[in-house]
Symmetry: C2
Subunit: 429 residues, 2 copies
């Protein structure tokens, strides 16, 4: 099924807001086997909107509109849709009651403009939005469906997940158009998609004839591989997945496609280990990535954001002479930070990160993008040096992902040591 | 001048890549007084591209195309442009020499596909790309200009800044045309857009007749207000901006619309202050938000990610009995964390954050979403309690934004104290 996304809002065009909604929808719809054929961003202008909706509906079976549903005057999507579909606004008492209680729970006064968000086109099916005051609107039309949703990402995401996707799936099922379909995925790190593709080219060719498709989803530093089977082929998916895991074993980080953070959290919880961090250039970003998932307190004890050299020495015990001799961005300092974090937080494992994120601070020997990451466990300390690029934001993201991968690797090799009867990690503390 | 942005790439449509280029271009072009009227994202498909270029050129004077210029088979933009403009590829020796030296400097082999990136349309002006191997291509056409650039953000940004914008400005100047559009924005926190709108409704009505438009751009926890003037009205924009700042003064956080992090970084650098953090539930996210901007080392010393209670006591000096008596999520603990961070890092200011991010850990008295944030400066410690919602991700984001706002507020009142001749912050340390 072809989908077109229409994002409405001047803030997107003048670059005040990055359009993350389009990417979120693209990813989510792809996982349903639906295909986003085009994304168009237009201003909150009546004539432009009317023409863009007409064009999108002429091309796509499902048109998803976001934005322009706020209570203020610049938000005109609802009115434009009424004109377009030849319908008018009617007050929806259920929605109004929900809006009033939404404000009451927050101890805020309900204004008339807020109540008026319950004025909704008569011709639409209202999709609940428990996270905000603008409802989703589902319009059945000849040849397809058009849905209007608020532009606030978490509100849109909720309406998509709870309203649009299940409802659209029912429509397709009712028309006998929803084939049995299944996915498996795995996460790789350490090489690019073209290298991976070469290694499994022959497998892929064989599967294609059976109805199993392969997709490479690269992010900075990792490639997720997704296998998709339809109909009969679903029964062969597990065998295909096992084949690719075995063929690519040097690069596979997680076999079920979970993120590296999920995998390390699962391992640490299972083994009953604890983890601590010492972050210089990332300023706390690794810790933030770990606590983004619920239940992090079961294994994450915390750490030290040692942005200054004094913090490195006083809170982590890095000898000041090592900093002056080797530089704050160096292997000895990264190792000392990891060991310092382990001991200061009384953890089984400690991580140290020190690098030059840029754009300033680079030198010939240590250009911008140089990052040392160390992970210290009961069986010693491992340290890696990375040379990322010139972009600060990308360097910080790559550093956090590389650190998570190193932690997972060190943890896994400790598990093996433990399970083979050698000195266990917990005993050694 | 009307601009249209055409982003080419399957990776954008399936959500593998967020289209940050469109936002960057929108912001940069607006600052020139040029107006991005539409952004369209399409796949690497010949027919779709031809039709989209034709449509864009029929609407906009400047068409900016990004993506599809890589060396691999799926990158077809160059060929499509040749067909579209009826021209053919010729080898550019200067570009080829640059590509060869680009690979040599990196110690990598130059493949034929890389050399072939020097094959460029005869009809275009080549725009240099010193950061990569795909050149920019400038096509003069009837009624305007179309430019094709690589999709890699920093390469596109360089070509835009050094090639497209200066060249386009010369074209417009040669035709005696100057920008007739300007913006002002301000950032508010503490109330919703509808409340803000009601307070300035009468102003807005008056401005509209003069050609000044108002837009509300809400994010979780804040609302950015943007004023836009065209033509004659540009001269009245500053007065309108001052009016809205004064009318909404209780909620205005930054008068020039910069982010709270930018504003606090500027203030701290200007005053020569230092800042440290103690983060529990956010796990390092506040520090990461501060170091996301270059130059953070001028004021940010670091902090302690005190996720565990032991870390709160041992590294920050929070009395363990306060934790058992009041709970780890409490005002006394937040205050002690802020003061502990200040003293452990030898900073002028310290921040303490402790809360229940969810989904577990809430109680009747302290439900999920309860967060205490304290900021300690030379003139004492201020503490706030917040009651956010049920969503962990949102709670963490709201906490970081609220903390930045509190820090900025405490910093500003300290500036006032200093400037009024009372005991200065720096002297007091």
């Amino acid at each position: 099924m072809e989908v077109e996304v229409l994002s409405i809002g001047d803030e997107l065009l003048i670059g005040q807001t990055v359009n993350t909604n389009a990417a979120w929808m693209g990813e989510r719809l792809e996982s349903q086997g639906w295909h986003v054929a085009r994304c168009v961003t237009i201003p909150d202008e009546r004539e432009v909107m009317l023409e863009a909706i007409r064009q999108a509906e002429s091309r796509a079976e499902l048109v998803l509109i976001t934005g322009g549903l706020g209570p203020t005057r610049d938000d005109i999507t609802k009115h434009v849709l009424c004109d377009y579909y030849g319908t008018s606004l009617v007050r929806n008492p259920g929605v109004e009651a929900r809006i009033v209680s939404w404000f009451e729970r927050r101890g805020r006064e309900v204004l008339q403009v807020n109540r008026d968000q319950a004025l909704l086109p008569e011709a639409c099916v209202v999709l609940d939005n428990p996270l905000g005051t603008a409802s989703g609107m589902w319009f059945d039309r000849e040849g397809g469906v058009t849905v209007s949703m608020p532009g606030v990402p978490y509100e849109m995401e909720h309406i998509m997940s709870e309203g649009v996707i299940p409802r659209m799936r029912s429509v397709l099922e009712a028309n006998g158009r929803s084939p049995r379909r299944a996915h498996r995925s795995l996460l790789t790190m350490g090489t690019g998609e073209s290298q991976l593709a070469v290694r499994i080219e022959d497998l892929e060719t064989g599967w294609l004839s059976k109805g199993i498709k392969l997709a490479y989803l690269p992010s900075p530093g990792s490639v997720r591989i997704r296998l998709t089977a339809e109909g009969e082929a679903v029964g062969e998916l597990d065998a295909a997945h096992a084949q690719v895991c075995s063929r690519l074993q040097d690069y596979v980080v997680t076999k079920n496609g979970e993120t590296v953070v999920q995998a390390l959290a699962d391992l640490w919880k299972k083994e009953g280990w604890t983890l601590s961090v010492a972050e210089s250039c990332t300023g706390g970003g690794l810790g933030a990535a770990l606590v983004a998932s619920p239940g992090a307190s079961q294994y994450f004890l915390g750490g030290v954001q040692s942005y200054s050299n004094q913090a490195k020495s006083e809170l982590l015990g890095v000898p000041p002479e090592w900093i002056s001799e080797h530089g704050a961005v160096s292997e000895p300092v990264a190792r000392a930070m990891a060991e310092g974090a382990k001991s200061a937080l009384h953890a089984h494992f400690g991580v140290g990160i020190t690098g030059i994120a840029g754009p300033e601070g680079g030198s010939d020997q240590k250009p911008v993008g140089t990052v040392f990451i160390a992970c210290s466990g009961p069986n010693g300390t491992q340290c890696e040096v990375h040379h990322f690029g010139r972009d600060r934001t990308r360097n910080l993201g790559m550093t956090i992902r590389a650190a998570c991968r190193l932690i997972l690797e060190v943890g896994r090799s400790n598990s093996i040591v433990m399970n083979s009867g050698a000195k266990g990690v917990v005993d050694s503390l």
